[in-house]
Symmetry: C2
Subunit: 115 residues, 2 copies
DNA sequence: CGGATCTATCGACGGTTGTCAATCTGGGAG
DNA sequence: CTCCCAGATTGACAACCGTCGATAGATCCG
């Protein structure tokens, strides 16, 4: 199976770098990676969370509690999911954690939806 | 709060047409709509299913059973989820249902990940 | 009509997920 | 050192999700 997919897929998608859903059938590995990222976006609270971080540039978790109206462990859970999907990154400074979006990861997902 | 967000958001996103996660904080409605679509993409089997449909242009469900190695009700379930998210559309012809992708919906999601 | 085929629906089962109260950790502030 | 605060972790619970066997509906063929 590797022979069949490699030639076709590489020619159209450029290999494993940035697979596209539309260009050629995904193998299990690519599908699993992309699915994890899309699943992270598949929750309204996380989407708004990401949106708030993007809008502010840098946000500490404490600033997210009020606009999202969720308990602190819930916010912590969601930031963890987004971070594990590579969509945000957190830098600890003193007592606070400063969250920022990872534009490259978003670009990867955008590319996956394009041909 | 409606005053604050309406002016800002409309100016940067063009209203409810094609909201962007990065441009301005999403309201609950936009977040819920986008989250449903991204959640539909958040499963490896559905991603590969979408990929197969896109690659073939038009596919009947029976051609999806073998490459995905899933039972027929499972395939039917996944096509339903993708269709409800607006990502694919099915046209019944005789005994078969021909599935096609909806490029406009994918474009909406791509726009949501851009600024 | 009767049998065959494609698809959708139902019911059930196990696993995952979103949520929060309670608790733990670690880094300032006094 | 002690207290306080930001954040992570744990445990628990309900809700949801992916999967499949069984079944039902629809359509074609002989």
């Amino acid at each position: 199976m590797s022979v069949k997919t490699s030639t076709k897929a590489r020619a159209r998608t450029g290999g494993d770098c940035c697979p596209s859903v539309l260009a050629a059938p995904l193998d299990e590995r690519q599908a699993a990676d992309l699915a994890q990222a899309f699943a992270a976006l598949g929750d309204p609270v996380r989407l708004r969370l990401l949106s708030l971080i993007a809008d502010a540039g840098e946000v500490c978790s404490c600033d997210l509690l009020e606009p999202l109206a969720k308990a602190q462990p819930t916010i912590s859970h969601h930031t963890k999911v987004l971070a594990q999907a590579g969509l945000i990154t957190g830098e600890k400074q003193g007592r606070w954690v400063w969250w920022r979006v990872v534009p490259e990861r978003l670009a990867t997902l955008r590319a996956a939806l394009a041909d």
